[in-house]
């Protein structure tokens, strides 16, 4: 449904953030994009959701199509009305608004205004806790609850493609697992998911296909299973250090280690 072709993006005409990135999100699938800080993940998402201009970035080559229609020149509101909704990095919930008002704000961009009530029921179904705290100021929610709210807010626009920018950022492993299950549930309802993550364990656990972004280029791509088994990804993102000096292949581990996963990368 979403097709990114040879995308080149630069900031201020100087910094090349993306240099020929191509990827596809098929209907009703989950696609993960992995990459470290500065790999261009956020730039890719800004381009899809048309907020690049807010950051003084511009597409200098290639393009993005959605169901065959070019997204070039659309503003953020139009993109949302097409059914592409992004959950921003760092949650960015409206802290001074109540939980319910946050959800309402999320529904303002919906193409089908009459479906708002149904969207709200669905969100409260997925996140019963939000229903309990609907009158509370969003700033008073915990980090995990805020992430739930950010996802719920995006669902209010009834997206056909939901994009998440590092939903696991700064959250406890248990909560990250919960978010993974919620994303699977959302996907099971027919919504395609584009998941950008540093936490490769969770991302590869739920994705169908995955791409690895490295300094503005796609360095690896394939099915999530293949990538999870590849040495490069294991070394870089799953925390299985290969015997580095000799370059010998790592011992295949039975299951990805959760405790050691991305801790060393947070210092960034």
């Amino acid at each position: 449904m979403l097709e990114v072709t040879q995308l080149h993006v630069s900031y201020g005409g100087v910094v090349r953030a993306l240099q020929g990135v191509s990827l596809q999100v098929p209907d009703e699938k989950v696609v993960a994009v992995l990459g470290s800080n500065g790999a261009g993940k956020s730039t890719l998402l800004r381009t899809v959701s048309a907020t690049l201009r807010l950051h003084r970035g511009a597409v200098v080559g290639g393009g993005i199509t959605y169901h065959g229609q070019s997204l070039a020149g659309l503003d953020a509101a139009r993109t949302v009305r097409l059914g592409i909704v992004q959950v921003p990095e760092g949650r960015r919930i409206f802290g001074r608004l109540t939980v319910e008002e946050n959800l309402r704000a999320g529904g303002l961009g919906a193409a089908d205004k009459s479906a708002r009530a149904a969207s709200k029921d669905r969100v409260f179904d997925l996140f019963p806790l939000l229903a309990e705290r609907r009158r509370q100021r969003a700033a008073l929610l915990s980090g995990g609850e805020q992430q739930m709210l950010a996802i719920g807010r995006a669902l209010m626009a009834a997206p056909k493609l939901i994009i998440l920018d590092e939903p696991s950022l700064g959250l406890a492993p248990k909560i990250v697992g919960q978010i993974g299950r919620i994303l699977q549930a959302i996907n099971a309802d027919g919504t395609a998911v584009l998941l950008v993550e540093q936490n490769a364990v969770m991302a590869l656990g739920i994705a169908d296909t995955a791409y690895v972004l490295d300094v503005g280029r796609v360095s690896l791509s394939g099915s999530a299973k293949e990538l999870a088994a590849s040495d490069d990804v294991r070394q870089l993102y799953l925390g299985h250090a290969a015997t580095s000096a000799s370059g010998a292949p790592a011992e295949p581990a039975r299951e990805p280690s959760r405790t050691r996963s991305t801790l060393s990368r947070w210092q960034g």
Binding site: S49, L54, A77, R92, E101, L108, S142, A154, A157
Partner: protein
């Protein structure tokens, strides 16, 4: 004691007018982060258009023309200067509004000449008497009209889609854009509402017992500025509280003829109150101090 009650009522009346103007500052600031220094001359423009229209039609229609024209002017300023420069430095934009203010007031001064225009409000110089207190009708009307407008605004701000979009956009513009909220519409309506409020406020600012409308109304309107600041520039409730506080302080000091710095204390009291409150609460009474939990 009678004098005290009269002064309180006068102060509340003046304060509710300041509240309308201060709310204009606050809405514009919340929506665009720009301090609109042109609010004072927009107010004079609104009054001028109302007086001109009043030559041809009844007062209520003339006021409607004045309010619409001022809202439209504010919209033009927002579209041409503020919206086009979005992403630019908000301080530069605030100074830009000073430029607009000077241009606008210069043209209005030329048109006014040395005339003092009467706004033509229906209350004239009639007084209301009750319980030994007498008050100009226009002052009473000011309180009532301001109350209705403020109530309508706060209901819309709290419960309408426009209000939710406005508050969401004020808090995090990019996140609001990602939700598909059209920021441009929110900021445009914010400027229009501010212009309309100024055009209503000018009626009561220049009605009896004030001598009438001349360009001096701009300076009086700018006293709503300390009102907005002391309430907290990003707080709508603060605008109302600040407006009332300034109105009461001004009415009291004028009524008891307190002198200060060789003149009437009433002329400077808005700024004195602002300074004292900012000493205690640097972001104003209701101004935002970051509230977050990680």
């Amino acid at each position: 004691m009678t004098q005290f009650f009269e002064l309180v009522l006068n102060g509340l009346s003046l304060g509710s007018i300041y509240a309308l103007i201060a709310l204009g500052f606050v809405i514009v600031f919340k929506a665009t982060e720009v301090v609109n220094f042109a609010q004072g001359s927009l107010l004079v423009l609104g009054g001028y258009i109302t007086t001109q229209a009043h030559d041809h039609m009844p007062f209520v229609l003339a006021l409607l023309v004045g309010v619409s024209a001022t809202a439209f002017t504010a919209l033009v300023i927002e579209r041409v200067f503020i919206h086009n420069a979005r992403g630019g430095d908000v301080n530069a934009l605030a100074i830009l509004t000073i430029g607009i203010d000077i241009l606008l007031i210069t043209e209005l001064t030329r048109r006014f000449g040395s005339n003092v225009l009467t706004i033509g409000d229906p209350w004239g110089n009639k007084l209301v008497h009750f319980a030994g207190v007498s008050l100009p009708q226009s002052r009473l009307a000011a309180i009532m009209v301001a109350f209705v407008l403020l109530a309508a605004f706060f209901l819309a701000f709290k419960f309408s889609n426009w209000g939710v979009a406005m508050r969401a956009g004020a808090e995090d513009g990019e996140a609001a854009a990602l939700m598909g909220i059209r920021r441009g519409r929110v900021t445009a309506t914010a400027w229009m509402v501010a212009g309309a409020l100024a055009a209503v406020a000018v009626v009561f600012l220049t009605a009896f017992p004030s001598p009438g409308l001349d360009t001096g109304a701009r300076e009086i309107a700018l006293r709503a500025f300390p009102a907005a600041i002391l309430g907290g520039l990003d707080s709508t409730a603060g605008a109302v509280v600040g407006g009332l506080a300034i109105g009461l302080a001004e009415s009291m000091t004028a009524g008891y003829s307190v002198t200060f710095l060789g003149g009437s204390l009433a002329d400077v009291i808005p700024y004195l109150v602002m300074l004292v409150i900012l000493l205690v609460r640097p972001s104003g009474i209701f101004g935002t101090r970051e509230l977050s939990r990680v």
